[in-house]
């Protein structure tokens, strides 16, 4: 019993790291632009494919290619924003939802056409390695690496937001667009920047997912929904809230998977149930300040 | 008509309105002035049910408004305009005002009657020639007039105006002042928040000065501009300059 609880804690922590990675980019972009990017899951998917092809044809470890993949993601996200969303920023919110939803569909199905629905994955040695803390408590090495990277990314992001000139401008825009614009901050440029940064987080997450999950063109949607649940749990515009949300979701899923009969099937639904419950019970999330009438 | 008794509203620890009481008689025009952050818009939000007061009571013709939703309060005969105008951008001016006429009372109103009422309201504010324009295509002055017409179409007994003059040009101000005067003459009770002292002097029967959510002074417009406390804390500068 004790070891079961301990295993649940370990698994929840590790899964929470993975979930943090999935959600932090979405949360950053939303915090600044107030647009939910329904294509975020598919951006993660492209990161995974990029890492896969780097691994297979150039024999580059995903942890190494992660850097290039992140840079490509930043450029891609920036361009995507400039070409599409930038033109409809003043339109009603429905247009932005439909647009990013459509972008996601395009990205996903270009991937289907290019690479078919076959499952792939990168296979660095650590992907299959595990440590046994005791006889029946296992730590998957791949997830531990993801956890470590998640911590590093979040710390870097928070530091950047806090101490860099651009980061502070980003926070200013996120807190009050009108005032930020009066202070001489180019709000639209900050939007594009945050979108690029968000995509860069997305593709980097994809590179990490490439050795944790099977890579398919359809991997984006479940990731997107989980990221939704997480940032709504955590309160949308708060990075720290996102981290908390990620660990809450991970804990709930892991616990249900272990404790409830047929739990693994039900665990898939936890994100949806949590999402609905949180939206109803506490619409501002745990640490959020955003009213839900956006 | 309207009795405000000991009303307080706090946001977190900050008091936006504290222990405010005043009366509004039928047919009266009350001007509310005060510096930014004095709680003027909060007061309107409390009366119209957008926010609930922490304490006190708000009585309309003896009926408690606390706890009612904005649409219920509207049906009791209270209408308002918003400081930041909110015309329905995708609807024509006429449809905007029709919406005000159709749903504002518990009684069923036929579409023809509503159209007639909309026409009268638009005529009163001088916007009849723009009736087929989209709400989003109006100038800021026209949008203010549209809000006023929409509020009038609800056949309100009590009209709350939140800085209808801000952003208007001189001639537009005169036009809207004429419109408000006509409304007041038709027997509607008006509570207006206004920055322009000239407008208050011309229209208000009585003035309430708010500062930090409290009543600083109540009196006739002439008393108010002569009152040293008011000059000190709100106006803070010679009146001649403000009036222009």
């Amino acid at each position: 019993m004790a070891s079961l609880i301990f295993q649940i804690v370990v698994d929840s922590l590790l899964l929470g790291g993975v979930y943090t990675l999935m959600a932090v980019g979405l949360s950053l972009a939303f915090g600044v632009t107030r647009i939910i990017n329904f294509a975020h899951g598919d951006i993660v998917m492209y990161g995974a494919y990029a890492a896969f092809f780097a691994f297979v044809s150039l024999n580059i470890d995903p942890l190494l290619s992660l850097l290039f993949v992140a840079i490509l993601g930043a450029i891609g996200g920036y361009l995507l924003f400039k070409l599409t969303l930038d033109r409809i920023l003043d339109a009603p919110g429905i247009n932005q939802v439909l647009l990013t939803f459509g972008l996601g569909l395009v990205l996903q199905n270009v991937a289907v056409i290019l690479w078919t629905g076959d499952e792939r994955s990168t296979t660095p040695s650590y992907a299959f390695d595990s440590w046994f803390l005791s006889d029946d408590i296992v730590v998957a090495k791949g997830r531990l690496i993801a956890f470590g990277l998640a911590v590093a990314f979040v710390v870097l992001l928070l530091a950047w937001l806090r101490w860099s000139e651009l980061g502070r401008a980003t926070r200013a825009v996120s807190q009050n667009r009108a005032a930020a614009s009066l202070m001489g901050i180019n709000v639209r440029a900050m939007y594009a920047l945050s979108f690029g940064l968000s995509s860069s987080f997305g593709t980097a997450t994809g590179a990490i997912m490439s050795f944790l999950l099977p890579i398919t063109p359809f991997m984006g949607f479940p990731i997107l929904v989980k990221a939704f649940a997480i940032i709504i749990l955590g309160g949308l515009d708060s990075i720290v809230g996102t981290v908390i949300g990620a660990f809450l979701l991970a804990t709930a899923e892991t616990t249900i998977a272990y404790v409830v009969p047929q739990g693994i099937g039900w665990a898939e639904g936890v994100a949806f149930f949590l999402l609905v419950i949180v939206l109803i019970v506490r619409p501002t999330g745990i640490l959020g300040t955003v009213g839900r009438d956006a | 008509m309207l009795k405000i008794r000991g009303v307080s509203k706090r946001y977190g620890g900050v008091a936006a309105i504290s222990d405010l009481s005043f009366d509004l008689a039928r047919g009266e025009v009350l001007g509310v002035i005060g510096p930014n952050g004095a709680g003027k818009t909060t007061l309107l939000n409390l009366i119209t049910g957008y926010n609930a007061p922490n304490e006190g009571s708000i009585l309309l013709e003896g009926r408690e408004l606390r706890g009612l939703a904005p649409y219920e309060i509207c049906r009791l005969g209270v209408a308002r305009t918003f400081q930041v105008v909110r015309p329905f951008a995708e609807m024509t001016v006429n449809d905007n005002v029709m919406t005000g006429a159709l749903f504002a009372s518990d009684k069923w109103i036929s579409a023809q009657d509503a159209a007639l009422r909309a026409e009268r309201a638009l005529d009163m504010v001088g916007l009849l020639h723009k009736r087929q324009a989209l709400g989003s295509d109006l100038t800021i002055g026209e949008k203010k007039k549209l809000e006023l017409a929409r509020a009038l179409a609800t056949k309100a007994k009590l009209l709350l105006l939140d800085e209808v003059m801000s952003g208007l040009t001189g001639s537009e101000i005169d036009a809207v002042m004429d419109a408000i005067e006509r409304v007041a003459d038709s027997g509607v009770t008006i509570l207006m928040i206004e920055h322009l002292v000239g407008v208050i002097l011309a229209l208000a029967d009585r003035v309430l000065v708010l500062n930090f959510g409290r009543e600083l002074f109540q009196g006739t417009p002439e008393e108010v501009i002569a009152h040293p406390d008011v000059i000190e804390s709100y106006l803070g500068q010679p009146l001649e300059r403000l009036q222009t």
């Binding site: 647009l99 459509g102 709504i232 047929q262 939206l279 109803i280 | 219920e72 449809d95 905007n96 919406t99």
Partner: protein
């Protein structure tokens, strides 16, 4: 006068719906059945969008309709036309609950809540095999399935009824409140409109109609499983058809449904090897529709005929 013309068009369409399937080749009448289901979800989605409610959960209504019809038919052997009734009631009830519990949620958050609810329903359908057959799905008893012609007529009639409903709704006094809600639920309250009532009403109506589409599909294909009944593609086509045809208009969803069905048939003809192309086209329609053609095909047609569009049904950004 216009109302009379409306009635004539509706009655004429009903007659066509009843007669035409007798004379059409089987392939074409299957196509019409699918078109009808598409019109049902598209028009019902459009009704909610018209009130400012973006639904990403229409596959949830569809699935509820499909499952309730199939399970009730198998349990009580009720005929297919009767199975519409409980399915619509369930769809309406679910829609009303959804609108009630999502209460204050606006735009984006409402959309996410609907998406989550419909996905949650899919998980439930998958995980409660005792009721739903789980991943193996449900077969509708063959003996009680109607023939193809009846099926086609019936679905066409439902489509006509749906379009008629949205036509009358768009001409009614409620349209003033619904359109105003789309702009600002907060401001419309000060005009005496209770947004909660309208939002519950329109979501219930939309849910009832969308669940009909599920009922038709359950009877038409004779088999449903969680994956197909709660397929996200349903939600996608529900929003693409109105957007393509003309958002917030009565004819838009119909024109859009015909257009995207034709498109998907074409892509199937030319790219039959891959399922990706059809959805890719849908995605492109969404992206380009939002960016370049906000008032849809109907809007293009109107603009061609009269230079100044003053129709309030055209989104603000059209100007």
């Amino acid at each position: 006068m216009i109302a009379v013309r409306g009635w004539i068009i509706i009655l004429g369409s009903l007659v066509v719906a009843l007669v035409a399937p007798h004379f059409l080749p089987p392939g074409f009448s299957d196509w019409l059945t699918r078109l009808s289901t598409l019109i049902l979800v598209a028009a019902s989605w459009n009704m909610m969008a018209n009130a400012g409610l973006i639904s990403l959960g229409h596959s949830g209504f569809w699935g509820l309709g499909a499952y309730s019809a199939a399970l009730l038919a198998n349990a009580f052997h009720i005929p297919f036309w009767l199975s519409i009734v409980p399915a619509m009631l369930l769809g309406a009830f679910f829609g009303a609950c959804l609108a009630y519990i999502t209460g204050r949620l606006r735009g984006l958050f409402f959309a996410i809540a609907t998406l989550a609810t419909s996905e949650a329903l899919r998980v439930v359908a998958l995980m409660v095999p005792k009721l739903t057959g789980g991943a193996e799905g449900v077969f509708v008893f063959d003996q009680i399935r109607p023939d193809r012609i009846t099926m086609t007529s019936f679905s066409l009639c439902l489509a006509v009824a749906t379009v008629a409903t949205s036509y009358f709704l768009s001409r009614s006094r409620y349209q003033y409140a619904l359109r105003a809600m789309r702009d600002s639920e907060s401001a419309v309250q000060m005009l005496g409109v209770n947004p909660a009532r309208f939002r519950i009403g329109v979501t219930a109506l939309s849910g009832a109609i969308a669940s009909c589409a599920g009922v038709i599909t359950a009877w038409f294909t004779g088999y449903i499983d969680p994956g197909s009944a709660f397929d996200l593609k349903i939600t996608i086509s529900a929003q693409i058809a109105p957007l393509f045809g003309g958002l917030y208009t009565v004819t838009g969803p119909v024109v859009g449904s015909i257009a995207i069905l034709a498109l998907s048939e074409l892509t199937r003809l030319y790219f039959n090897y891959s399922g990706g192309v059809g959805l890719l086209v849908y995605g492109c329609i969404l992206v380009f529709g939002v960016l370049m053609m906000p008032s849809g095909l109907v809007g293009l047609w109107k603009r061609r005929r009269k230079p100044v569009v003053t129709d309030a049904a055209v989104p603000a950004r059209a100007k």
